[in-house]
């Protein structure tokens, strides 16, 4: 999945590096073969359900749940057509709005918060940090009732704004913790240099800190986006028709009359698309972001 294609070596060094690589391959072969086989097995086991979903999405409903499973079939776009016919787009837009809006809010709030908990620690920052993460220890069910009542009272039931705020609150602790971990890794002298050079706190964050932790922020944003996009419990509890999101839409296929497996698969595929897209775009950054400390 990641770009691993080596850049072609310059002509003069070509034979050298190729020979070195060949030598390495030769000496490592027996062990690496076993490791590779294991990796592929595990990878395939994890990938299989996704593949099955992909295949099923192109089947007719009658071929979708047969025993034994159908492997050979004539692909059809019927299911996709049916989904778009069932008004998929509003759900999709609701999901997109809530996810993007909450992710932007989370990053905007988490960076200064993380700054105040690491580089310029406020008093009792440890307690604050623990408080943040402790909000995630409570199961969502425990707060859904008050949340519902509040939403009802301020007239934000079945409203994307409410959902965005809830997702922001939900993701903020994780984002603060992640970004804080990137901040504490920053070389202190670089930040001091910017202060001596006359940068204000705002300038320091925008011009020095953010560019240095950009990969980490990208990784954080992606994770928050995925969490918000996949969130089901709050969505199903706080929305009904106007603001319902894609996960809510998907459950519509699990009906009393039976499972529409092919259609569900097709819908799931469309639901997964933005996340895959976001992951693909952020890929280059992600790898660096998730291993920011190690690289440096």
């Amino acid at each position: 999945m990641l770009e691993t294609a080596p850049t072609p070596p310059a002509s003069g060094e070509a034979s050298h590096s190729e020979r070195a690589a060949a030598a390495r391959r030769r000496t490592r072969r027996p062990r690496s073969l076993g490791v590779a086989a294991l990796a592929w097995t595990v990878g395939l086991v994890f990938f299989f359900p996704v593949l099955w979903m992909f295949l099923t999405g192109f089947k007719h409903e009658s071929e979708a749940s047969t025993t034994p499973p159908t492997w050979l079939f004539v692909p059809t776009f019927d299911q996709f057509r049916a989904i778009l016919g069932r008004d998929f787009l509003p759900y999709f837009l609701n999901s997109l709005t809530a996810s993007v809006l909450s992710t932007v809010l989370v990053v905007v709030l988490a960076v200064p918060a993380a700054y105040a908990l690491s580089l310029a620690p406020v008093r009792r920052w440890k307690d604050a940090l623990f408080f943040f993460i402790s909000t995630r220890m409570m199961p969502p069910v425990a707060i859904i009732l008050p949340l519902y009542i509040i939403a009802n009272n301020i007239g934000l039931l079945d409203n994307v704004t409410m959902l965005s705020v809830v997702y922001t609150v939900m993701n903020l602790p994780i984002a603060v913790w992640m970004i804080r971990s990137f901040l504490v890794e920053l070389p202190a002298e670089v930040l001091e240099a910017s202060r001596v050079d006359g940068a204000s706190i705002g300038t320091e964050i925008r011009r020095i800190i953010l560019p240095m932790i950009a990969p980490g922020v990208a990784a954080t944003a992606l994770i928050c986006f995925i969490f918000a996009w996949n969130e089901f419990f709050f969505a199903v509890s706080l929305t009904s028709t106007k603001a319902a999101t894609v996960p809510v839409f998907l459950t519509g296929f699990i009906t009393a009359e039976g499972l529409f497996l092919a259609q569900l698969s097709a819908a799931s595929m469309m639901a997964a698309l933005p996340v895959i897209l976001a992951g693909w775009v952020a890929q280059k950054w992600l790898v660096r972001g998730l291993s920011l400390g190690a690289v440096k």
Partner: protein
């Protein structure tokens, strides 16, 4: 450009009883190159960071020119700092690194460009202006860090061990370049190092710190010739000054198996202090090899030949500890004695330094 004054500046780190810098008093003249030197952990960096505004001043004050900067933010002190790690901005190229402070000062683009180009010319950085720090060698990065300081034309340069990440050869050449550049620009400079050779060769004056306390602040020569106490005497000079404690009776110091007469002046000083022992220090080059009837007796433990010089490590006869050599002397490398040989040594008259064994302070003038 300005004078810099530490007025009893003191820094307590949170959670530590002892101040890291204790009542530091130094007045630095306009355009002067002052070196702060001392062993690791003595408070050099802390002193410099207090001046930069990166560390609080808990007691006392610091002035730059006639401004009291004690509580001023670092960016408003108009000083430029060169860090040990260089602390370049990794995401900016060389030109942007140097221009950053100018941009913060809202300098017009034209002037910014001119200053960066000028600094790049002085420091031989012109081919690298578009490069990121990552793709520069250590020496080039060091020069960028210097460039970032000089484009600002600040009141003062502050440098914290800027050469310690360079290899030995580059360190020596860069050392003289920095000193020359400083003279040319005439900017008041405070330079921190733990390397006493750097301190002696670069500084107009050298301030020796130990355990947060200023020991002596003087010209390199005065520091060498007239150390104020036993710590400075032992710290400045390589190989270090020989400092040993001797008993004094009837105006004679007992050195090994011989009694050596001490000067009248020292006798008077000892009498004033009521001391019957003395810390005597003498540099390796102040000890001569003499004939068997003179001086005191010692046996050679090690001969170190460096080409231009040779050093004898000897133990004084009559002392029982066989381990460490008692005394190091510089000798003519043409005819070095052999290990195990017995030699006779004499300290050149007037070249000895006497310190109180109680306080370590200098006794003789």
């Amino acid at each position: 450009m300005a004078t810099i004054t530490y007025e009893a500046a003191t820094r307590f780190y949170p959670g530590s009883e002892r101040p890291a810098v204790d009542g530091l008093e130094i007045s630095i003249e306009d355009g002067e190159f002052l070196v702060l030197v001392g062993p690791s952990g003595c408070g050099k960096s802390t002193s410099l960071r207090m001046l930069a505004g990166l560390e609080d001043v808990d007691e006392g004050a610091i002035r730059i020119g006639d401004r009291d900067v004690t509580t001023l933010a670092p960016g408003r002190r108009d000083v430029a700092m060169v860090f040990q790690s260089y602390a370049l901005y990794p995401h900016m190229n060389v030109a942007e690194n140097m221009a950053f402070a100018l941009e913060m000062a809202k300098m017009p683009k034209q002037e910014r460009r001119r200053r960066v180009r000028e600094a790049a010319r002085i420091l031989d950085l012109e081919p690298f202006l578009d490069r990121k720090p990552k793709s520069l060698s250590g020496g080039q990065r060091q020069r960028v860090a210097m460039g970032r300081a000089i484009v600002r034309e600040p009141q003062a340069f502050l440098m914290d061990e800027p050469l310690s990440n360079l290899d030995a050869k580059l360190r020596v050449s860069t050392r003289s370049q920095i000193a020359a550049l400083q003279k040319r620009l005439g900017v008041t400079t405070v330079y921190v190092t733990h390397d006493q050779v750097e301190a002696m060769t670069m500084g107009d004056r050298v301030a020796v710190l130990n355990e947060g306390v200023l020991q002596q602040c003087d010209s390199p020569r005065a520091l060498y010739q007239r150390p104020a106490n036993a710590f400075v005497a032992g710290f400045i000079g390589s190989p270090a000054m020989n400092i040993r404690e001797f008993a004094v009776h009837d105006g004679h110091a007992r050195i090994g198996d011989r009694d050596v007469e001490v000067s009248d002046e020292l006798r008077a000083a000892l009498a004033d202090e009521g001391l019957d022992r003395v810390l005597l220090g003498f540099r390796p080059e102040s000890v001569d090899l003499v004939g068997p009837s003179e001086g005191f007796t010692a046996s050679v433990q090690l001969v170190e030949e460096l080409g231009a010089d040779a050093y004898l490590y000897c133990s004084i006869a009559g002392t029982d500890h066989a381990g460490d050599p008692d005394i190091v002397t510089r000798i003519d490398p043409a005819r070095p004695p052999r290990v195990g040989e017995t030699v006779h040594l004499r300290v050149r008259a007037g070249h000895e330094h006497a310190f109180s064994p109680v306080t370590g302070e200098r006794l003789s003038s």
